[in-house]
C-alpha cells in the first residue's frame, strides 16, 4: 500500500467537524473513542406528537459568533454548520486561500434536505400572514446548492462549484467529484457536507422512508447488524474537508496531509433486493480504482442502515469481497445517527483520524449480531491497529450506493500532528 506520488492525487489537508459528537474535530474524535453518544430526545421542537422522538442533535450549536452576523438570517442552520466547519478545516489546513488563484479553488458539497428549517419558518409566515412576510432570503436559503454558494462567496472560491444530492451517499460522491476536479485544473477543493433537518417538516419528510427508528431507549434505538435492529436515528451536522493536489500540499509543506482519496465507485440499486449485488460490485470497482486488493484494506466504515434487510445485504456484500470476518468493520455513526449529506464526510473524517492515530473506533450499541451478518464488527472498545487503507461505504435512500478508499500518508510524508503544531514545533 503506497500513497500515489501522482501530482494531482487528492490529499486531505484540513478537517472541520460540526457533529452530535462534538463541535470541532478533536472533540468529535475524543467522543468517538470514548463511545460517547450524541443521541437524545429531540429538543429543537416538541417531538411528543411524532412517532420519532430521538435524534442526534449538535449540542448547543448556534451560528452566532461562528459566522458573520449578516449571514445568520440569510441562511439555514445546515449552512451555518457548514460555514463553521469550513472555517475550521481551512485553519487546520493552514491555508490562505487569498494567496491562491481564485479560479483554482473549487467547492463541492453534499446535501440531502436543503434548508428545511428555514423553509418551514417561511411557510408558517406565509400561511399565518401573507406573501409579503416571506423573507426575501427564502429564495437563496433553502435550495441544495446554498451551502456550496455561501462557502464559495465567503472564501473567494471562484473555481467549479456544485452540490451532490445522493442522500447519505452524497459525501463520497462529492469527494470523488473533488478528486476529479484536481485532475482538471483545480488546486484546492472544499468538499464534504452537512445536513440539519431536525424540524417537524424535515423529520416528517424523512419518516416517509419507513426506516426511522421509533424506539425511545437511546441505547437501543440504532443498533445496526444487531438482531434487534429497528431502523436508524436521524441526526444533524457533518464535516467539511480541504482536499488539494499532492503537488500543492507538498509545496505548502503539508506532506501527505491526513491521507489520500485513492479510489471511488458508485452504483445504483433500484430494487432494495439488489443492494448486496450492487454494493459488492461497487466495492470491487472502488478497490480497482484505488489500485488496491481486498487484502490491502485494513478496515471498513460501514453504511450501517440499521434495518434487518439492508444490514444483511451490506454484511454479505462485505463478506463477498473480503470473506467471512475478513476485515474489521465499524460504524461510529451509531453515536450520531445518520447525517445524510453530512454522514459520509464525517465517516471520512473519522477514518482519516483512525489512520493518523492507529486506532479503529468501536461500534456502540449492537450486542448480538443478526443471522447472516458474518462480519468482524468492532465492539466494546476501540481496537489498536495499523491502518494503511480504509474503505468507507455509504448508501443513499432510493438506491444510491458508493464506496471510497482512503490511504494513509507515507511515514516520511506524515503531516505535522496537531499536538506538535500546538507546541509550535515544525517538521
Amino acid at each position: 500500500m503506497t500513497t500515489p506520488t501522482k501530482e494531482t492525487a487528492a490529499v486531505v489537508t484540513g478537517i472541520g467537524v460540526v457533529a452530535p459528537t462534538g463541535v470541532g474535530t478533536e472533540e468529535h474524535w475524543r467522543s468517538v473513542l470514548a463511545g460517547k453518544s450524541g443521541i437524545g430526545r429531540i429538543t429543537r421542537f416538541d417531538p411528543s406528537p411524532y412517532p420519532v422522538r430521538l435524534a442526534g442533535e449538535v449540542p448547543g450549536f448556534t451560528g452566532k459568533g461562528r459566522i458573520p452576523n449578516r449571514l445568520l438570517p440569510q441562511t439555514d442552520r445546515w449552512t451555518h454548520m457548514a460555514l463553521a466547519a469550513a472555517d475550521e478545516a481551512l485553519e487546520d489546513a493552514c491555508i490562505d486561500l487569498g494567496r491562491l488563484p481564485e479560479y483554482e479553488i473549487a467547492v463541492v458539497t453534499s446535501s440531502s434536505s436543503g434548508g428545511t428549517e428555514f423553509g418551514q419558518q417561511e411557510m408558517e409566515r406565509l400561511y399565518r400572514n401573507d406573501p409579503s412576510w416571506v423573507s426575501a432570503y427564502q429564495s437563496i436559503a433553502w435550495f441544495y446548492a446554498a451551502t456550496t454558494g455561501q462557502i464559495s462567496i465567503k472564501n473567494g472560491a471562484r473555481g467549479p462549484c456544485g452540490v451532490v444530492c445522493t442522500e447519505q451517499a452524497g459525501g463520497l460522491d462529492a469527494a470523488a467529484q473533488a478528486r476529479g476536479l484536481l485532475e482538471t485544473g483545480s488546486r484546492v477543493v472544499l468538499t464534504g457536507g452537512t445536513d440539519a433537518s431536525l424540524c417537524p417538516y424535515g423529520v416528517v419528510a424523512q419518516m416517509s422512508t419507513g426506516m426511522l427508528s421509533t424506539a425511545e431507549d437511546q441505547g437501543r434505538a440504532f443498533v445496526p447488524f444487531d438482531e434487534a435492529a429497528c431502523g436508524y436515528v436521524p441526526g444533524e451536522g457533518g464535516a467539511i474537508l480541504v482536499v488539494e493536489t499532492a503537488a500543492s500540499a507538498a509545496e505548502r509543506g503539508r506532506g501527505g496531509g491526513y491521507g489520500t482519496v485513492l479510489g471511488h465507485a458508485a452504483g445504483f440499486a433500484a430494487d432494495p433486493g439488489a443492494s448486496r449485488r450492487v454494493l459488492a460490485a461497487v466495492i470491487r470497482r472502488a478497490l480497482r480504482d484505488a489500485g488496491t486488493d481486498p487484502g490491502d484494506v485494513d478496515a471498513v466504515f460501514a453504511d450501517a442502515m440499521g434495518t434487518a434487510e439492508q444490514d444483511r445485504a451490506e454484511a454479505q456484500a462485505i463478506t463477498d469481497v473480503f470473506g467471512p470476518g475478513g476485515v474489521p468493520v465499524t460504524a461510529p455513526k451509531t453515536l450520531t445517527g445518520r447525517l445524510y449529506g453530512g454522514g459520509a464526510p464525517l465517516d471520512m473524517a473519522t477514518a482519516l483520524l483512525s489512520m493518523r492515530d492507529g486506532v479503529l473506533p468501536h461500534t456502540v450499541g449492537p450486542s448480538r449480531k443478526a443471522a447472516g451478518c458474518d462480519i468482524d464488527l468492532v465492539l466494546d472498545r476501540p481496537r489498536d491497529t495499523e491502518l494503511r487503507a480504509v474503505l468507507v461505504l455509504a448508501r443513499g435512500h432510493g438506491g444510491f450506493t458508493s464506496a471510497l478508499v482512503l490511504g494513509r500518508p507515507e511515514e516520511d510524508d506524515a503531516p505535522v500532528s496537531r499536538r506538535n503544531r500546538d507546541e509550535g514545533e515544525n517538521r
Binding site: N69, R70, P73, S132, W133, Y137, S139, I140
Partner: protein, 86 residues
Amino acid sequence: MSGFTIDDLRSIMATAVEVDEDVDLNGDIAGTAFDDLGYDSLAVMEVAAHVQRATGVRITDEAAGDLPTPGDMVAYVTNRLTAAEA
C-alpha cells in the same frame, strides 16, 4: 401611518436585515446608495417588504430595484401616502 421619515426607514433597516458590524446607519444615509451601506438587492427587497407592512404602501420588487438610496425610498413612500390622503 400619516408620514414616513428617514428615521422610520433607518429603524426598519436596522431590524429587517443584519449587516456587517462596520456599517453605521446613524449618519446621513439618505443620499448614500443602499449598496454602499451593505444592502444588496435582496436586502433592499427585504427592507421594502418591512416598509410595506409598516406603511401599507405597496413596493413591488421592480419598484424597489429603482430606488437606489434610502432617500429615494422615503420619497416614494411619502408620495404615495400623500396621494392616498388627497
